[in-house]
Symmetry: C2
Subunit: 312 residues, 2 copies
DNA sequence: ACCATTCGCTGATGTTAGTCAGAGGATCCA
DNA sequence: TGGATCCTCTGACTAACATCAGCGAATGGT
């Protein structure tokens, strides 16, 4: 799935390797020590994932990425310890529901405490100032690794994930522009199906968190439905989507990209400008459009050195 | 071993926990995927540790923290794959020496490449600027986690680690002061044995990387032999050692601390001043002493909130 | 009413990781 | 020279972490 760019060497690889080594050793070893309470670590994780609200077994399987049989066994072990109980779901009697017993809830509290202690054991030896810097640096690493984990995929416009994205997109547009948007106002992405267009969805841990579409016209192509989930902003994902779509357009020999947007989407407008788009007169009559932009795609230049054009 | 401070809640615990979760999942899962080349991960790690120069089995056992029997088995597996060969050491025929065959060296190169690819796969989706920030933040996390992993232990002055520290200390002192120091000039730490003093050594991964001693006199105590290994500077270890020794002194009811130092140890002098030590007239005639300092220990105040006094 | 599918469970089986006791040879020290 | 110690290996064992095939009950679509 991941195709590391091969030719231009990426700066910082040794530092990343060194980080990986240190962090997996230190954090990994400590986690075991703190969290395996006489129980296999997998069971502790499972206990945690069941959570106070309970969860159905199907979800747990997906979340933890476990084999159905294996999970079943783990559940029975926890059940034997009296920490959880598994009952059939009232809605679908094939589905089973795991939830914590009161003993299980107590154990979960203990686990929570142990997690805190693990974190404290890392912070405790440091001075006040060092702690602050460590926490800040960890937050930065976390943000950027999250950004890096986002994956772009070309998706068929009929995919439910596309509908989700468009729904969110128009929902926000309506809110920002203070114009109510009903279900029927939300268009499909059928006009961006295969030969005449592409629809790209950004995923994080399997959930769609952004999108962008490309629609070909005569002599130019149009970038449409640029959206990034509110919870995933600030990760540079919008720019990445745009770069990706531009790469796809370039690969198809397209030389001019256009797009329209709404005056209330200020961050988007800023991003388009900084990506080299210039404002042009209206070329469409989309309901929400207030600003129109255009960019000539030259040869791949500086700043385009990622995502490998049409790859991924 | 680690005793998390219990009462004053430590800031940043949730952030650290979140970081731990993300990093173990993301890096851990990726590591497996990239490095387990059809071989158990442990074997790959071992192959790596044997290294181009070869290593004797005893060292490997310590470095990887493996059981003697288990390691033996792993070695035989690698041997069966034709990746290493194990021969008896010429110096001590009990000891066995593992070294890579040419096939093993090639495999190690592949492993190296895979590690690079792992790192690249994290960096590749990011923009130039994000990469720079990620690498910088990783370096910061690594430095601070290393600092946090350093462990202070009270050690008997006869321990060979103490000799090592003093040797390094006087070596550097001689170099800085441009005055040759012979083996005989290096004193022992016998005057800091149990009831009349303490000697504290800082360890990182089992290796001594710093020290500080406390010697009790009438009416005051003296801090002596403050040293931090050149490779471990900038981690705040000097200050931590000093704080720790002050805590020990306080616990013994000592109210006045003195120390002498040499004009060429400028960082140390800076640290003493910032820790509240004030310059006083000479009180000793140590060969290298050029500056003398004193600090009155009051009640534990701000900035002393770590390491829990005499604990650890 | 039927069939395909979904869901969870069970049994069989395999690999990885790790522990423990002790054998056997080599070395060190008194 | 004789014990104590060191180093490695073997055999026996265990726990954790899976994978796979198939069963039986429930469900949804036609």
């Amino acid at each position: 799935m991941v195709t590391p760019t091969s030719h231009p060497p990426i700066e910082g690889v040794p530092q990343v390797r060194s980080f990986n080594r240190l962090v997996t050793e230190r954090i990994g070893a400590l986690s075991d020590e703190y969290l395996a309470r006489g129980r296999p670590l997998g069971a502790s994780r499972l206990l945690w994932e069941v959570g106070v609200a309970g969860a159905d077994v199907r979800d747990l399987r997906v979340r933890l990425g476990l084999d159905s049989g294996y999970l079943s066994r783990l559940l029975r072990n926890l059940e034997a310890e009296g920490l959880i109980e598994v009952v059939v779901s009232p809605e679908d009697r094939r589905v089973r529901l795991a939830r914590l017993t009161s003993k299980g809830r107590m154990e979960r509290v203990v686990l929570d405490r142990r997690s805190d202690e693990l974190a404290e054991s890392l912070l405790a030896p440091l001075s006040e100032g060092q702690r602050g810097r460590l926490v800040a640096a960890m937050a930065e690493v976390e943000r950027l690794l999250t950004a890096s984990a986002a994956e772009l995929r070309e998706v068929d416009p009929a995919d439910p994930d596309v509908a989700h994205c468009l729904h969110e997109f128009f929902g926000e547009l309506g809110r920002r522009a203070a114009r109510p948007v009903t279900e029927e106002d939300v268009p499909t992405a059928e006009d961006m199906r295969a030969p005449h267009g592409v629809f790209v969805v950004a995923y994080l841990k399997g959930a769609p968190i952004g999108c962008a579409g490309l629609k070909q016209h005569d002599g130019f192509a149009e970038v449409k439905r640029m959206w990034v989930d509110a919870g995933a902003r600030g990760l540079g994902l919008g720019r990445r989507l745009l770069d990706h779509v531009e790469g796809l357009a370039r690969a198809r020999g397209i030389e001019v990209l256009r797009l329209d947007t709404n005056e209330h989407l200020t961050e988007a407008i800023g991003m388009y400008r900084s990506a080299g788009y210039e404002q042009i007169p209206p070329y469409s009559d989309e309901p929400f459009a207030t600003h129109w932009f255009e960019k000539r795609l030259g040869e791949r230049g500086a700043g385009d050195d990622r995502e490998g054009g049409a790859a991924n």
